[in-house]
């Protein structure tokens, strides 16, 4: 099986197309609106999936989990860029200023900028150059992006509230898991350090 980072983005794009075709009555009229919404939801779902890869992958082969997390993250960023592109080419092409002047769109724009930053720093050569000490905290911005997506969706009249609440709850739970995991690791490291230092100090 090929690495998911190769085929998952293609699958995401197909999902966007299918969603658009489903939401729009035909490709000449409502498709722009449908495609915009479908791409947004696909991006949001992939972002949650990327954030959930680590907790759900606990106990699995770490390299495999890492591959999936990376593929899902790349797909989420690509879907977000597609979402932005559709918005710029379709519904918002005559009101580009709203991307920054409207709070809900501004939050979405910022989330896309963050995801793009993470996408650009997901290539192995960049990861190596950045080193894990820089790369890791940078990629925790994915949670900030998640929060911004909640703000983006919350004031959008077209986003079903149930979907927004589910997405927000998912991001919140995953953030709590991440904080708990960080705390647990820090304690374990401190314990190891203490245990290692103890004999030497004697």
């Amino acid at each position: 099986m090929k690495a998911p980072s190769r085929w998952l983005p293609v699958l995401a794009l197909l999902a966007i197309a299918a969603g658009a075709a489903f939401a729009g009555s035909d490709w000449t009229a409502a498709a722009w609106v449908g495609a915009s919404r479908a791409s947004g939801w696909v991006a949001a779902a992939l972002l949650v999936a990327a954030l959930a890869a680590s907790p759900f992958g606990t106990g699995m082969d770490p390299r495999r989990v890492k591959r999936w997390r990376r593929a899902l993250g790349i797909s989420a960023a690509l879907a977000a860029l597609v979402h932005l592109a559709i918005g710029l080419a379709g519904p918002l092409r005559d009101s580009l200023a709203t991307l920054w002047t409207w709070p809900s769109y501004r939050a979405g724009t910022l989330a896309t900028v963050i995801l793009t930053l993470l996408l650009l720093t997901s290539f192995p050569s960049v990861v190596r150059r950045l080193r894990v000490r820089v790369w890791k905290p940078l990629h925790r911005l994915a949670y900030v992006a998640g929060g911004l997506v909640v703000l983006h969706l919350l004031r959008l009249p077209f986003a079903p509230l149930v979907g927004v609440l589910v997405f927000g709850a998912a991001v919140g739970v995953l953030l709590l898991w991440r904080l708990g995991e960080g705390l647990r690791k820090r304690r374990a490291e401190a314990r190891e350090l203490n245990e290692g230092a103890h004999p030497a100090s004697r």
Partner: protein, 717 residues
């Protein structure tokens, strides 16, 4: 202790935002990203550069030094952030959205116990919907329109009046409880008129199906009438004709006995004919709804005869020996129906009118601008116009607003605001001013009018005034549910249609809100000045924006947050901000005014839906869906409670800024509004779909017949 790496990032982010950040979340996020990148670069360059160990005291001092100012800045900027990020009132808006997204959903969420209403229920996949509730004798069934939408027509007379603030939606046999606001209206005596000899005066209360008759001593009788009486006219000293939703009835003024009846669909205005041309010997003229609205003359036996057709139902009608005059709101004009017919534009609709003598009619208006509209911000100049029926021209104007000695601020006015009723008798004119809670008596030659102040009485916002034969003054206060009989400027007798002590707290709150709605601010402008009786005056006016905008109706807006054209107000109560800041504040100090005003506005009935056969409604809904309308005007409230950029909808409109926010209005009762779109450029619903670009609904491909179906459907909502 060692400073963690995240501590450096947060500290740097806090410092960056405190020093150079704006009051918005984007600045916070950007400061954090910048700090993250800077710390990362530093660590990449010198990995051990931030391995700093501090004593707990030093760490605390450092943290306080960095995070203290940031906390101060956050506290200071929090209100601006909440406003800028549109987080104010988000709870209310999400609550409204949740109510409509939770299926099955019902709209509007207000049930009136006094009048028929149409509800829409969105229950995707369902095949049957019934409305049930405590007090309902029969459960009105919904007509399926398609796409999960049901139309439910409820009539309290046929189905029983709802007893509680909840309805049960029985959808395919399964019951779903939904909370609604139950409105039991209070009595509102309106259309106060005197008999020819001025020994009696009478008013009707549409909300409570009542006709009340008084004389100079007080109460004569209160009679129950047919469904929803709207107007009355004395045929002679002892007989009153009453126009109601059911038709016209002739009653004995003292006993209330019905002497004759004529069923007429939707009779609204009534006037004594007074021998006007083309009415023959008929004693009455009545206006009945329909397309077109018609004026009929009625014989003694109430037999109708065609008299005139009008483009719309007049707000008021008066007849003299020279002509009948009808006040048209949408056209902002009066139509003079004498031997010939002539329409006189006023620029603003006449609020009320009265005959002064056979050749003269007086009109109360909020401005007179038959040519170009006056462009002053919220421009209102209350005045009384004299219409000469022979010359067919406005021959005199009398501005009414003035400032009494009690005024403090320069330019403030406190008298003569919002004239709502006129009574001309001889040379003396009496005017009821709802905005300043008074009646003024204008005598020829007197420099200032005599003032009958309603302050200190239970009456407020008078909408009717009549002088009786012995000099007693009868004043009708619909909001107070009472008539007052004044002698020498003092209240002598109060005739209440109901006991205020029996009002529920909610009803009492709504009454307070009604007072605020009609009460003027110190600039002379009241809500009523533009929103005539809570409807629109159909006028384009400058409301402080970049262009003229049509007046919105405030009926049927419950649970459709946010409010105003740009959706800038999350709650109805917040709109008091406009009056307190822009319009100089109200005359009376009152605590909790916004809440009371909101309670009143929420409980206003929306205009009745126009009948449309089920088949036509289904066809219209199909077109509505095909055009993509539900994307924004979502079921069942026909709004998704959001806003869209002007540039996305109307890119060709250069008058609109591309990022200007346009609220998505509910389409319920849309047919009663107009002109349409944010700047009123569409005079009719049909012309809304002439917008180029296929952005505001995908309507370019629709045939003429389909557009006709769509417009008919919208008018029936």
């Amino acid at each position: 202790m060692r400073v963690p790496r995240q501590g450096w990032v947060l500290g740097l982010a806090a410092a960056l935002w405190t020093v150079g950040g704006d009051a918005d979340l984007a600045s916070v996020v950007l400061a954090y990203i910048a700090a993250l990148v800077l710390v990362g670069l530093l660590l990449a360059w010198r990995p051990r550069s931030l391995d700093l160990r501090l004593s707990p005291i030093a760490a605390t001092v450092l943290a306080l030094g960095v995070f203290g100012p940031a906390l101060g800045a956050a506290i200071e900027r929090a209100p601006a952030i909440a406003e800028g990020e549109e987080l104010l009132g988000i709870g209310e808006q999400l609550g409204d959205r949740w109510a409509y997204e939770r299926k099955p959903a019902i709209a509007p969420p207000v049930v009136f116990t006094d009048r028929p209403q149409r509800f829409y229920v969105h229950a995707p996949g369902a095949s049957s919907v019934r409305l049930e509730g405590a007090g309902l004798d029969a459960a009105p069934a919904g007509d399926e329109l398609g796409h999960g939408l049901f139309r439910v027509d409820y009539d309290p007379i046929r189905h029983g009046a709802l007893d509680e603030s909840a309805v049960r939606l029985r959808v395919d046999g399964r019951v779903h409880e939904r909370s609604v606001e139950r409105v039991v209206p209070t009595a509102h005596p309106r259309r106060l008129k005197a008999n020819p000899s001025r020994t009696l005066a009478a008013a009707v209360s549409e909300e409570t199906d009542a006709l009340v008759v008084v004389n100079a001593e007080g109460f004569v009788g209160a009679h129950t009438t047919r469904d929803r009486p709207r107007d009355l006219a004395f045929v002679d000293d002892e007989r009153i004709a009453v126009a109601s939703a059911a038709g016209v009835a002739l009653l004995d003024a003292r006993t209330g006995d019905v002497l004759a009846e004529q069923p007429l669909a939707d009779a609204r205005v009534l006037a004594r004919a007074n021998g006007a041309p083309r009415t023959g010997d008929a004693p009455l003229v009545v206006g009945v709804g329909g397309t077109p609205a018609r004026l009929l003359s009625l014989t003694e036996a109430l037999e109708p005869e065609a008299f005139a057709e009008l483009g719309e139902m007049p707000d008021a009608l008066v007849c003299t020996a020279s002509a009948c005059v009808a006040a048209l709101r949408r056209a902002a004009s009066v139509v003079v129906l004498g031997a010939d017919r002539e329409e006189l534009p006023l620029g603003r609709p006449a609020v009320t009118l009265a005959a002064s003598d056979p050749a003269t009619v007086l009109l109360a208006v909020t401005d007179y601008s038959p040519g170009e509209p006056h462009l002053g911000n919220h421009f209102v100049q209350d005045q009384i116009l004299t219409l000469d029926l022979e010359r067919r021209a406005i021959v005199a104007r009398r501005p009414t607003a003035w400032r009494s000695a009690r005024q403090a601020g320069a330019g403030d006015v406190d008298r003569g605001l919002s004239p709502m009723a006129l009574d001309a008798h001889g040379d003396v004119l009496r005017v009821a001013f709802a905005g300043s809670d008074e009646v003024e008596v204008f005598r020829p030659g007197a420099p200032v009018p005599d003032v009958v102040d309603l302050a200190g009485t239970p009456l407020f916002a008078p909408q009717g005034v009549v002088r009786l034969h012995d000099g007693a003054l009868v004043v009708a206060s619909p909001g107070a549910g009472a008539l007052g009989i004044f002698r020498e400027g003092s209240l002598a007798t109060l005739v209440r249609l109901e006991d205020p002590a029996e009002r529920s707290p909610t009803q009492a709150l709504r009454v307070r809100g009604e007072h605020s709605f009609y009460e003027a601010t110190r600039s002379g402008v009241a809500c009523q000045s533009c929103h005539l009786h809570a409807d629109t005056d159909h006028v384009l006016r400058n409301i402080g924006g970049r262009r003229l905008a049509p007046t919105l109706t405030v009926r049927g807006v419950a649970d459709t947050a946010p409010y105003l054209r740009d959706g800038s107000y999350p709650r109805i109560r917040d709109l008091t901000h406009l009056s307190t800041t822009l319009l100089g504040d109200w005359l009376r100090p009152e605590a909790g005014r916004g809440v009371a005003l909101e309670a009143y506005v929420r409980a206003l009935p929306r205009p009745p839906a126009r009948p449309l056969p089920l088949g036509a409604a289904r066809a219209g809904l199909e077109v509505f869906v095909r055009a993509g309308c539900p994307s924004c005007h979502a079921f069942p409230a026909f709004t998704s409670l959001g806003s869209v950029p002007a540039g996305a909808l109307f890119p060709a409109q250069t008058a609109l800024a591309e990022d200007e926010r346009l609220d998505i209005p509910s389409l319920l009762s849309v047919g009663a509004r107009g002109p349409f779109l944010a700047d009123g450029r569409a005079p009719t619903l049909r012309s809304v779909f002439d917008e180029p670009g296929d952005r505001h609904g995908f309507t370019a491909a629709l045939s003429s017949a389909e557009l006709h179906q769509l417009v008919a459907f919208l008018e029936s909502l």
